[in-house]
Structures are given as C-alpha cells and as structure tokens.
Symmetry: C2
Subunit: 227 residues, 2 copies
C-alpha cells in the first residue's frame, strides 16, 4: 500500500489548536541548518504550528496583521518537511483577512491549491461561509467542497438523533446547491469526538463504530475520487 | 422604570453576524452631517456593523489589518448614537489581533472598558479563551467574567440533558477558578435559540420557559450586581 506523506500547517496564529488536537501539545520544534523541523505525529504525518513556539500554552499571541503574515511566510519558506509531502493541509482561522490573503499570495504559484470549507448548519454560520466561498472565487482558488459539521446530535440517553441547529435555510446542502459547490459530507456531533480532540487521540481508530467515523471515511473517499 | 440605552458595535469585520441576529439584516445605515446613523432595533437598542455597508450579504470583506483598524476607528468616531448610551457592547471576532488591539488603543482612555469572555466547555475552546484572558491582563482590561455556552443539550426526544462537549478539564468553571476570574453563568444549548438568532427573533420574550432564558437572566442579574 502506498502511504501518502501528509503535512499539517496551522496558520491560526492567535488560536493554534493543532498541537492539542494532534496529541503533541508539549512537543517543541527544532531549528537546524535546513530550517525548522516540524513535529512528527506519525511516520507520515507532521505538523507545524505557532503553538509549538509559545513558552506557555496560555500565552496570548498579540500580533497585528503584518507580524502574522511574516510568521506565515516563515512557515512556508523555512520549515523542512523532510521528504516531499503529498498533501499540505493548511488549517486557517475563520475570516477573509491577513492569514487567508497571505496563503493566496505565497502559494498562488502552485496550480493545485484548493479549499475545503467547513460550516455548521445554522444560517448565522452559513452567512460567514458564503463570504469564504466568495473569497475563494475572488482569489481564484478552486473549492474542493463543503463539510457540514454538527449536523445532528446522538443523545447519550435515548440514542435518538436530534438537530442541534435547526436548518432554517436548508443547511449546507441548500447553500451548496445555490452556490454550485460540492457538499463533501455531514458530520454528526459525537461527544467522543470532542473528547478525542481534547486528548489528541486517534478518533477513527478508537471509535470506528461512531457515525462520525463513517462520515469522515465517506468524505475522504469523495475527495480521493475527485479529479 | 429607568430604561438604559444600549448600543451594539459589531467589529467582526470579516464575519458580521449582528444584523441577522438582531433581525435587521436588510436595513441600511445613513450618513448625515452628524455622522453615521446606527440601525435601531428598538427605542433603546441600536446597532452598527460592517454588515450594513455590504452590497450583498454574501460579499467577502477581504481586508488586511490596517483597513480593519481604519473601519473600527471610523465606527468609534463617526457613529452618531443619538442620546448618550449607557452601555456600548462591542462584539469581537475570536483572536487577539488587530480588532482587539484597535479597541484597546482607541478606548483605553475610558476607565470603564471591561471584557466578557464567552467559551464552550471543551479544552480546545478553553485553550483559546485562556489566551483572551491573558490578552485582557496584558492590556489591563478588567474581566467582568466568563460565560460558558453550549454547556448541555436538552434532547428534543427524551427531554434529558446531555453534555455535548465533555468537560475533560472541568470546563469554564475549573478554568475560572484556576485563573481567578468570575464565572457569570452557563447557557444550555436550546435549538430554538439558534433558530431565534437565525431569524432575528426576541428569544427571551418568545421562549421564556427555556432553561437558556433562565441562564441569560441570571447572567444579567449577576453583571448588574457587580461593582
């Protein structure tokens, strides 16, 4: 089986979550002659985040745009990912500002930069996501698709599925149809997933029975099947 | 009864939600000799947001920090709120960057600038909120307290309360004790609240029976009772 090399770059400079979610909270990055070494979560999975550069995880990163842009430029030019990575996944904060513009500016020379947009079903969230889609179009980034998170909640008591956020305007499905963007999948909220994120566990391996795992696997297959 | 005059300033420049949440999505602001007129939601409640200045609600606001800072400065100096407002509530995006620094810079001369910090119970969210608290401390803004949102979910089928996000590290309560910050309250997730936000309805009036309404009223009383 061919194993892809995956690198994750967390550009949420003021709220980096990747070190915790990936279970490498207390790791540190090292600087060598060939640049910064990212933190390896697994043989084929490495991660870089401003979180690794803080002296305490509670420290605020109080930076205006230009300083954030400088950090992102450094991440893109000075991290030595080792072997050639097959996929670089860039986790951005919400918005359409410095972080997003920096990525477009520095990576626009690559012809395979694509966006995955994540939302929740309620209109207040879709309102922001429509702006993200407009941003991608204005900056000519193809949209791989939209993922709807927190689509439903499986009650831990009666095991019935409830809607957490009523889909007043049809949720991500209606928005995708309206804006002509693929819907990659809908992920139900499983409290064990939030727990896995908090603990940096391997959710798909530990909770293969979860409906969220099924949704993740379907989303990945869909992405792999795209041209 | 003395009625307070409340003004809401939405400085989430790239993702303004206040026009929708307040039910004034299609309103526009007008410019007069005395400045921009905010939109009045009620006799004693006005709101200003970049959302009112967009030609379409789907339009992305693709601005780097300095332009966002300029807009916030304009909001603070050129909005004619009418009578003297008793409370100016500033809704910020997540993070500790341009928007937050601008508010501190422009309003530091006021001796009654205080922060309310909103979180959800899981550690991934608390991680960011600890940074917000560190930001307030480093910029000498007193913290009025912390509100925990989405503390629990009332199943629409069996009416039992479930935890949506497991409190692996004790939730906001443990964080507040650790950082010596008041906990103002915990708001359970009621799907009707998300619906009200989407529709711009008056949740407290329409759903006075909701446990979320009880939580909101307790939080307001607690704030009113603070020195």
């Amino acid at each position: 089986m061919l194993v892809n090399l995956i690198a994750v770059l967390d550009i949420d400079v003021c709220g980096p979550s990747m070190p915790r979610v990936m279970g490498v909270l207390n790791e540190q990055v090292h600087q060598s002659g060939s640049g910064w070494s990212p933190v390896f979560v697994d043989d084929n999975l490495s991660v870089m985040s401003v979180g690794f550069l803080l002296s305490s995880p509670d420290d605020a990163v109080i930076w205006r745009g230009p300083k954030k842009t400088g950090m992102i430029r450094q991440f893109l030019s000075e991290v030595d990912w080792g072997d050639t990575v097959d996929f670089l996944i860039i986790d951005t904060p919400p918005g359409t500002s410095d972080e997003h513009l920096s990525i477009v500016q520095y990576l626009k020379c690559m012809n395979n930069l694509q966006a995955i947009v994540v939302t929740t079903p309620q209109e207040v969230a879709l309102l922001d996501v429509r702006k993200e889609i407009d941003f991608c179009r204005k900056t000519s980034i193809p949209i791989l698709g939209v993922v709807e998170n927190m689509t439903s909640f499986i009650c831990s008591n009666c095991k019935q599925s409830s809607e957490i956020f009523p889909k007043n305007t049809g949720g991500a499905e209606a928005m995708c149809a309206e804006l002509n963007v693929p819907l990659l999948g809908k992920v139900p909220l499983d409290p064990r997933l939030a727990q896995s994120c908090d603990e940096g566990g391997n959710f798909i391996q530990e909770f293969s029975d979860s409906p969220a795992t099924t949704a993740f696997i379907e989303i990945v297959s869909k992405i792999q099947g795209l041209p």
